[in-house]
Amino acid sequence: MSSRDGDTDHREREPLWIFERQYSRQDLLRGATAAVAFSGLSGVLAACGGDEQSASPATSDFTPSGSVTFWNHDFPTYTEPLRSLAAEYTATYDVAVEHTEIPYEQFETKVITAASGGSGPDIYKIGSWSFANLASKGLIAPVDLGAVGVASLEDLEARYDPGVLEGFTYEGELYGLPVDLNNQLLWYRRDLFEEAGLDPDSPPATWEELIDYAAKLTTRDSSGKTTRAGFLWWYGVPIFDVLYMISIVEAFGASFLKDDSGGLNTPEGIEAIQFYADLSLKHRVSDPTLSDPLGPNGLLARGRAAMTINGAWVQSEVESVNREMELGNTYDVAPHPRFAFEQEPVVGGYSWGYAVNANSDNQQTAWHFTNHLQSPDAASRILQASTFVTPIAEWKDLSGAENEGIQLMADQVPAMDYGPALPQWNEFAKALDDALQSVVVGNATAADAAERYDQAIARAVKS
């Protein structure tokens, strides 16, 4: 998830690819006709529908019409293939696709306020962590199986890697289709490894090894300040705290949640928090005082950090900061470290997904267009342009998947865990971040932090 600014070159326009809201009369008339027809059709369908995932007529009976609007957060290398795919959809089905990019920092706020106000686009690209919240409020619509060309949920699940759709499921109903898949990898500087006398072809496989390597890689100035951290967390960003702690909490046998409250105020949970904090407090191989506008990715690129953990999208960021960064040469990627005592390690992961606005009056076409973005051809083009992995079943065989980082990510998919899916996800992530940071800066012990976390979760669930 990059925070870089979006692509601002909107001058080139494909037919019916609209950035400004300029519709022809025919478009409006067509859209209005489709909306009226759809309203009648959906009324009939609603009368026929039961409690199961919606099953409208199969794709062969469904013709998309009208227009769809689509919001996603800015990421330039993703926008380019998206535009061409949208243009092809328009040319094939005569459906206008209006696309808006929104800066990442504003994106969630804009989505929640638009959705709750009954406006917003037909399709959102949102994080897997947001699906439970929006679904619980009835702001997004369940996946229309017919519009995406399947007869059952099982058929749809078979199209993707196992478990991938869990991140978009709330209370047994599927609300989204995946844009991409990300799990955590270890990124490291090969040149700094060599400098420290470490073998760059043997990166640490366990947390114990990582601490040992990081100690050799960490350097300090005469006053004792860290000049290079052997390893660096991305401190103070709640979603990354969740991704890190998914594997650590699982390894120590703790749990984020327990009944309707937090579950970290246990010996295991306290140990997990302490482990996170000890990388800076006890082992002194990580340093929260180092800062860069791009976080640890920027510090890795500048040589201020020798190792960090993040998704495959790190590549585009580090190479944009430092042109000398070359995967396999200056820096490299390795599997997420596990604990030596772990039997079945898990790896934190997340996805971005397409969701359809529950207030959209063209939901079927919206799902149909979303499905268009899930084809092997679309997945391959997106993968080659942006390293985004659309986790369809055959993605590992697609052109572009031979990238080393992506292959490692593929190997980790069976161990991937999205963490808790709850409507109060933001409160959970903030409570976890507050707990971790309070220990790291020395304001609290791990036990105090765990207690405060549990209380915060209990309040969030209760409210």
């Binding site: 969630e108 706020t109 929640i112 306020t113 709750s116 919240n133 409020k137 009835g138 702001l139 100035d221 006053s223 300040k225 401190y235 103070g236 960003v237 929260p288 005082t289 180092l290 800062s291 860069d292 506008p293 920027g298 510090l299 500048r302 201020r304 109060q424 933001n426 409160e427 903030k430 507050d434 940071q437 309070s438 790291v440 800066v441 304001n443 405060r452 969030a460 409210s463």
Partner: protein, 308 residues
Amino acid sequence: MTHLTAVRRSRRRLAGGHDHTPSPLETAQRRWGIAFAAPVIVYLGVFWIYPFFLAVYYSFTNFDLIQADWIGASNYEFLGEDPSFHNSARVTLWFVLGALVPTTVIALLLALPLSRPGHSSTLFRSLFFLPAVLPLVAAAILWKVIYATDGLANTLLAHVGLDRIDWLTSPGVALWSLVIMVVWRDLGFFLIIFVAGLQTIPQTLYHAASIDGSRHVRTFLWVTLPLMRRTLLFVVVIGTIGAMQSFVPAYILTLGGPAESTQVLPLYLYINAFQFTNMGYASALAVLLFVVLVSLSLFQFRILRTKW
């Protein structure tokens, strides 16, 4: 009726005279006055007054952008128990003091020489005002780069042989880093206001003080400062309101961290409203902020009261 007659009638009426019949001129003036004021009144009503009362209502509910059930004063009761709110209140108090006092003092002291006519005064006034022209978000992003470990600030420190400062990542320093940014941005604006105020002070008073043997400090304390009370009041009031409502620096530079050490009240309000969708509690925070600001403003008016 002549215009003069109509004016006399309206004056008599204003003075408590017995002529209660409005003249055609008065009636026309009233109608035109209402017509011209109507758009602004409607705008204020729709975008200020109505949302304010709506926020007060929501503060007594559990509104989550979907539904709002009445829960009485529960949100306000929770304010007393919420450790994050207590922390935000403390942080905001320090932030306001840290931003307001130096900005006001430095701006006033700079305004003294820069209020004198001359090309150099105009040039320096323009230079100081430039940061105020920069969009706040752009300024915040700029300072985020300046404050980075390898940013301009630490580079300059290294050049003079000083150690690196953890501007945004040390809990004891981060808030003051935000204060520096805010002072840099607001200084020019306060300076212009003070210059305007100083230029209204008759020079004859300074001449008289000089003849009486008053030196610079005494002249400043006994001539300049008393005559600047109105200007000072205005600056302090709007400065306090601006600092208490400051959101962008904390949001862009630190997101309230490290460890909530820069989580000012507006940011905490935003988190509750738009991340937690806890609109009811956020509304209670907003109402509380409003009450505090009004109280502070009234207090400041009282302290710096002048005859109007």
